[in-house]
């Protein structure tokens, strides 16, 4: 109930065109979120990475009046900075500062956003950083995130979501300062902006911000038309050849459900039972890791959740009009790779055929109604969720979800599973050191029996017989091997 009361304090000031989500409170820690409804989906064709590089330069470069070094020197004693996040349809600049430093911090943020410095030496460094993020942090040093991002790129081929939000190595190289300035002028405008602020900021502060940010062009909404995706006709498997110890999988397909869709709470319950992020309580985790020791963890998603290996709660402000259902199988030992994939698909089929039991439904529904409070444990997250809720056109998230869960029935969940999830026409991505061998195993479709280092209950051994002989039925044209060097190039 507390949440509801709090939300009623929100002021949706519409003085100029800029939307504001304000959460005045007693905390001396002031939180800011400057959210623009634009992103990588607005990257011009052939100029993938424009949004990411523009935003990177704004937060990692100087302003008109200060060099980047001067900005760092000013920020440092306050221990504050300006963070960024660039997704398909949202760009976020966020930060926090102690009220002692509010004026000085706000001035730095305002100047960064309103009067960027556009210096070539900053661009050179920020471009290097962005390319290293694609080449090293993603492609070469992080098999799991690589698999997930490649899955999105394959599913959205030819679509505004179809390229990595960071950009491709070659397109990042080709971007010019003029490209970045054009993106800034067109998309970082008042029509796209929502400002979020929380904490014990003084009276008049919100008005001051909206007045300052009226210096941005009025502009138009940057919402791009999202074409219908050509449906997958068969399952497609992409195996990335890369030197690595183990085999990582990502599996998925687009779904029609976002937070705007009436089936979202039902599908969320289903997913939270099947594969909740980094939780030991999920069915997939239990069957694959706890019972069989195949790997470190196994999860599923109905919303984009980047950087999952580093964090437990999702970041807000990753609003998308299109989402996918995704299964994340953490790296498995190569001899068990074939079996592990069969088991993941077996469990997906069981989810679709049987759904949840009545008692699983009730326990998961009740869990979610309480657990949603944890998503809002910081003021910054609460601000982020409030801004997302406006984008999705739903009430404040906690009350929206809690009231939807109250009305939800077991049958609603079973129906949503059958309607939105499927067991065939999947896109599968594997990262493996022995891609050709894995491809051969898939095509041979021979039994892949499990050997354990300990005794297992009879029902598990029986189930293993079914799993290890499960026919995948894939043809050579469904399986593609790609060298890692070619990915995101």
């Amino acid at each position: 109930m507390k949440k509801l009361a709090l939300f009623s304090f929100l002021i949706s000031a519409t003085l100029p065109a800029i939307e504001v989500v304000a959460m005045p409170g007693q905390s001396p820690l002031i939180q800011f979120r400057f959210v623009f409804r634009a992103g990588a989906a607005n990257d011009p064709k052939g100029k993938e990475g424009t949004a990411a590089l523009t935003v990177g330069l704004i937060t990692g470069g100087g302003t008109k009046s200060m060099t980047y070094q001067q900005v760092l020197d000013a920020m440092y004693p306050m221990a504050s900075d300006l963070e960024r996040q660039v997704d398909k349809e949202m760009i976020v600049f966020s930060g926090s500062t102690h009220i002692d430093n509010l004026d000085a911090y706000y001035a730095l943020v305002r100047d960064a956003l309103l009067t960027p410095g556009w210096r070539e030496d900053d661009l050179k460094r920020v471009r290097d950083n962005l390319k290293n993020a694609v080449r090293l942090s993603l492609r070469e040093n992080n098999d799991e995130e690589l698999g997930k991002e490649l899955l999105y790129s394959l599913l959205y081929k030819g679509h505004p979501y179809g390229h990595l939000s960071l950009g491709n190595l070659s397109s990042i190289d080709a971007l010019t300062m003029a490209d970045l300035q054009a993106f800034y002028q067109t998309h970082l405008n008042q029509a796209n902006l929502t400002i979020g602020i929380a904490g014990k900021y003084p009276a008049g502060f919100v008005e001051r911000m909206t007045k300052d940010f009226a210096a941005l062009p009025k502009g138009k909404p940057s919402t791009v038309k999202l074409p219908e995706l050509a449906p997958l006709k068969t399952t497609q498997v992409t195996i990335v050849q890369k030197k690595t110890r183990a085999v990582a999988y990502s599996i998925g397909y687009p779904i029609d459900v976002t937070r705007s869709h009436p089936d979202f709470p039902a599908l969320l319950v289903a997913n939270t039972w099947f594969g909740p992020h980094r939780s030991s309580g999920g069915n997939l985790y239990q069957r694959m890791r706890e019972i069989r020791g195949l790997n470190y963890g196994d999860y599923s998603y109905i919303e984009y959740f980047p950087r999952g290996m580093f964090q437990f709660e999702p970041d807000p402000n990753l609003y998308r009009r299109g989402q996918i259902f995704q299964i994340w199988i953490r790296p498995v030992e190569p001899p068990t790779a074939h079996f592990a994939l069969r088991l993941a698909l077996f469990e997906l089929e069981r989810l679709i055929d049987k759904g949840l039991t009545e008692s699983d439904f009730e326990a998961t529904r009740d869990f979610l109604a309480l657990n949603v409070n944890l998503l809002m444990k910081t003021k910054s997250a609460e601000l982020g969720y409030a801004i997302d809720s406006k984008a999705y056109g739903i009430p404040e998230y906690t009350s929206y979800l809690q009231s939807a869960l109250k009305k939800l029935t077991h049958e609603d969940v079973q129906k949503a599973i059958r309607k939105h999830l499927r067991k065939d026409r999947l896109q599968i991505v594997a990262i493996s050191d022995n891609a050709e061998d894995l491809k051969k195993q898939f095509l041979a479709d021979a039994p892949s029996p499990m050997k354990y280092n300990a005794s297992k209950p009879g029902d598990i051994l029986e189930e293993d017989k079914l799993v290890s002989t499960k026919k995948l039925g894939w043809k050579p044209e469904q399986i593609t091997v790609v060298p890692v060097e070619s990915v995101f190039q």
């Binding site: 221990a79 706890e290 470190y296 290996m309 326990a363 309480l370 949603v372 300990a454």
Partner: protein, 444 residues
Amino acid sequence: MRRLITLALLAAINMLTAAEPRKIFDYPYQQHDFPNGLRLFTVPTDYPNIVALYIVVNVGSRNEVEPGKSGFAHFFEHVMFRGTKKNPPQKWEATMKAAGAATNAFTSDDLTAYHATFSKQGLASILELEADRFQNLEYSESLFRTEALAVNGEYNKNSAAPTSKLNEKMRETAFDAHTYKHTTMGFLADIKAMPDQFAYSREFFDRFYRPEYTSILVVGDINPAEVKALVEKHWGGWQRGKYTAAIPAEPAQKAERKAQVDWQVPTLPWLAVAYKVPAYSDSDKETAALDLISALAFGPTSPAYQRLVLQEQKVDVLAGGAQQRVDPYLFTIYSRVKAEKDVDAIRESIVSTLNGFKDTLIEAKKLDAVKNNLRYQFALSMDNSEAIADALARAVALRRSPETLNRLYALYDQITPEDLRNVARKYFVESGRTVVTLSGPKAK
């Protein structure tokens, strides 16, 4: 409850503005020592509805003194989720789920921490549930062997990052006798042998999962008296143990050490330059002085950062410092270098930057900026009950008291430019240095 809310808020506000003494951890906490050695901290906060429970055991990879047993403290963290007679894993999960809880655990050199964040209605049942597994853990050999495979899976998922290997190599090279020689994950050979260590796992539980090693932290929307009564009821009967690990002392390093890692996948080269430094201390000035040096030498406003990252743009990572450890450990600076040909020069720059502190006294203004940064950084991170509990857990691993934070931050305030010079002269010496480099396959 309202009085407590006001208190906590005032604490947060006063943290940075009040006159001396300025306590960095100024939450109105209570400490209670039970006769069996268990220690309880309760910290009411003004964040509504949520409770963060951290159970900290003062055991980590530092305690793994026997050959072949590296990584065991972390492995045991996994085993702790394998249930008891009364609460098998599924029942444990169901109880946590009923409170809407997010749960996990982590292990480091000096601690193992089990944490749950949940709605306050769940507190009584969760304290009872956790008391059961800490006292009555019971698991079959079959489940134990399966869990060992999950640890192997964890090693596998970490292994794609070159920094994992860089750290492994650094410890292996820098240490001879002390258990800091191995990472918390452990040597790969020991991980592979874990399934066969069932009997040892029972002994490990018997040794370390004892009240005198354990502190319970309850932070959030709580009533301290109620929490104390619940802990008394469920944990009061836990029997004290009698084991202490004899951790071998590391002999003094006599000469500089070097090692190279050949990475199989293309990467930019990495460089780690480390010096042996003393154990964490909140009573003498050395820990505090070293922390300030790392910020002054390589922080985003340092001359080295300005030159190498911003102007010459030869590196894209430059960071590090002394990690706080119970025993003497390392002051390590990491750098990712954009071109292989520059690695030697960057190593030289790091060394000469630290050597510079031996002769040149730092300006008071720069020192003040770092001191402010440290205080505000801490204040800004205290933005929810879980974060407060997490910071407290790390302090408890070192000194079993939040006061160690207050003492350390008080020392930061007292550090003078001369203190920095003294500590630099004492520890940034060639004979205490270890340099590890990592590079990918040579370009074809």
